[in-house]
Symmetry: C2
């Protein structure tokens, strides 16, 4: 049977991983695809650079557009990243009638809709399992095994760098800056860490998850986003003593009227399966009807896991090409669902504050919360902490479910009261009703 | 677009769940499938029986074969169970050129090969995601997102009844018989519990997982099988004090030369993600290259989760029908891999025994183990336990990885030595090198 010819754009960590996966078991993959999968062309920035994979047998160029549109390439594998040349090359490949496989979360989150429409118009496929949670199968299951569900929420730990830092902060009690530096030294964080620690990477992935889970157009601009820089060892220790762990969660929820899409550091109850997903591991928790709750767990980044996802997409696209048409990855979302503002978000909250240490303080605060209809689930007061002239205490409370607007209203009133010395930190919680 | 017409065989828990799933969101499912999915016929044993779903709009009969071959049925959904009439009806449906969806693990594990060959010959599909781990997507990911991997092992907690009983034994310290009776009272165990507690159900599921993971013909007769009846509260408590939990694991491993396929009560280290999968939850852990380790977790049984899997298969089969051919579920395995006997199995082991309590006993036992090249990883000795005339002690040890044959040789020699008063219990461990 005639081979399916693959053109690679970029051979960094992910591209090398995917190429190695194709070369590791060529006979098995040929059997599963229906024909041999033959890498024929590759575009790289620097052909001389040392790589974990050999370029032997490949026509090498620095011109990504040339590979994207080469007549002897059947499937284009985009592993350049970002939205510059990658967007141009993917657009050119789709326009030239070629199916594309990519792990580029930024590209799909920012320009997915225009690319899906182009793929629809040209009747080609655009596959991107590797763009979310590395090698963990999650987009495929949402499209296939779980497709009969009405998804209520998708909640993920989808950024390994922040999960590593938060896990280390929990284990060692050291501050963010110190463990960021350590993660950078170990290669778990970039020298410019903003994409990870400020939640951009997780927001891209959440936009993609929400698009598939809710069959709706979603762009990353609709995702509310907070990073982990303001999480302190004090908050982590107090949350632990109240039975919670800190995670950077990406939360997509269908509230019926609107979608909620948010990425932020979050307290997760220890009993929840997401709480024990530590270090560089990722997990995606899906709740839907009729399936109930399912969770997917594994390594969320790295050349091997992401290479597994990219190579898996290549096999499936090849299978569809050989069968004469697209099937597995046909999908411009059918709907435009409205997205709630963060003020409309519903959550429970953790609040840490310093208060005057005298009788009646808790009653004052509870009274204000009651007037705002914010109900308290847990309280922890520690004397002799905080600031001010007289005796002070650290007061931490976790609310039941409420709205962001109510919480902010209550906090403004509490901050203005003389019992409050300082509002130290506030975080959202997950899994507290 | 013309509707895809569905015929149901059996409307018990799973059939009702699948029918309810099709009816819950008809417009969304029609969009995902490409056409409305319309249940038209149903065969039930007793049309008068009360059911959670209405039969309105369905042609009802007691004749499963008639529905399986009805000209106005496009997809046959088999929810009868077992290998009697279910096998006959599925065979008739495939022979009549109809695609079939089933959650019948016994049917696929025992007669999968003949059914796949028939489906291949007739160019129709046979889908069975619901046969393993209820609503948890696992067969789909093995076929699709993970398809570029060489799978090294698949390890599952795939039987909710035994996991519930073992979790309760761990929590309450009560014996098997008592908690089986309680599980029966709560509806988590059948009045004849053998299929679950003796490991048959898990063995069926393991045969199916191994078939897909290793692309090999596998029948349930090739699976070594032990149930959980001989697990005692004493063993559970001792395993816990050594940092392990008891789980009924279904283990399929590719050793290169041969496959290992076994179902048995197993000690799992507390740090392994499978150890914290409790009660009626299921999980399947997959290790492969290049993906590394991934785990799938959720509810493994019940009408809603399994209905999600069956309805998901129906949507996919409908999609393939509308696109003019099979794609998602084409699969008679390509190979026949040899399977290791249990004597050839490689594992670590837990052994509990009563010994004479005097100096030199441990040295005697360690000496015998050393001669059989069995290396000890953990030891726990408790005085004043056991039987015999003089002072006795309970000795528990966990080995490093070895072969079943070596362990048995060493145990026979130990049992014959006068320091050994009784060999109490032996179990295999997972995740100990």
């Amino acid at each position: 049977m005639e081979a399916i010819r693959i053109g690679f754009l970029g051979l960094g960590t992910v591209g090398s991983g995917a190429l190695a996966a194709l070369r590791a078991e060529p006979e098995a993959l040929a059997r599963r695809a229906g024909a041999p999968l033959t890498p024929v062309r590759v575009a790289v920035r620097d052909p001389q650079r040392a790589r974990p994979v050999s370029l032997e047998g490949l026509a090498v160029t620095t011109d990504a557009l040339a590979v994207a549109t080469a007549p002897d390439v059947d499937i284009v594998v985009e592993c350049i990243g970002g939205v510059g040349i990658a967007r141009e090359a993917v657009t050119a490949a789709l326009a030239a009638g070629k199916s594309v496989v990519t792990a580029n979360k930024e590209l799909i989150a920012k320009h997915g809709q225009e690319l899906f429409e182009l793929a629809d118009a040209r009747q080609v496929e655009l596959a991107f399992e590797g763009s979310v949670a590395g090698g963990i199968p999650i987009l495929g299951p949402l499209r296939a095994s779980l497709t009969a569900n009405r998804v209520r929420q998708v909640v993920g730990i989808v950024n390994g760098t922040t999960n590593y830092i938060l896990s280390a902060m929990t284990r060692l009690g050291q501050p963010f800056e110190q463990l960021l530096a350590q993660a950078q030294a170990m290669g778990y964080a970039e020298s410019d860490p903003s994409a990870d620690v400020d939640g951009h990477d997780a927001a891209y992935k959440l936009a993609i998850l929400a698009m598939l889970a809710f069959d709706s157009t979603v762009s990353e601009e609709q995702v509310y986003r907070e990073g982990i820089r303001r999480v302190t060892p004090t908050d982590i220790a107090l949350a632990r003593s109240l039975g919670h762990r800190f995670k950077l969660l990406a939360i997509a929820r269908d509230r019926g009227d609107k979608l909620e899409l948010r990425v932020h550091p979050t307290l997760v109850p220890e009993s929840h399966p997401l709480a024990s997903v530590d270090d560089v591991y990722n997990a995606v928790f899906v709740e839907g009807a009729p399936v109930g709750q399912v969770m997917f767990f594994g390594r969320g980044a790295g050349g091997d896991p992401t290479g597994s996802a990219v190579a898996g997409d290549i096999v499936q696209v090849a299978r569809d090409l050989l069968a004469g048409g697209r099937r597995s990855f046909a999908m411009a979302p059918a709907r435009h669902r409205p997205v709630a503002t963060i003020d409309e978000a519903e959550s429970s909250y953790y609040v840490r504050m310093w208060v005057v240490d005298r009788a009646g303080v808790l009653a004052t605060i509870a009274g204000i919360l009651g007037r705002w209809q914010v109900s308290i689930a847990q309280v922890l007061q520690t004397p002799n902490r905080g600031a001010g002239d007289g005796p002070s205490a650290e007061l931490v409370w976790i609310t039941h479910n409420t709205t962001e607007a109510r919480l902010r209203g209550a906090l403004a009133e509490i901050a203005a009261d003389e019992v409050c010395l300082a509002l130290c930190n506030t975080f959202r919680c997950f899994g507290v009703d």
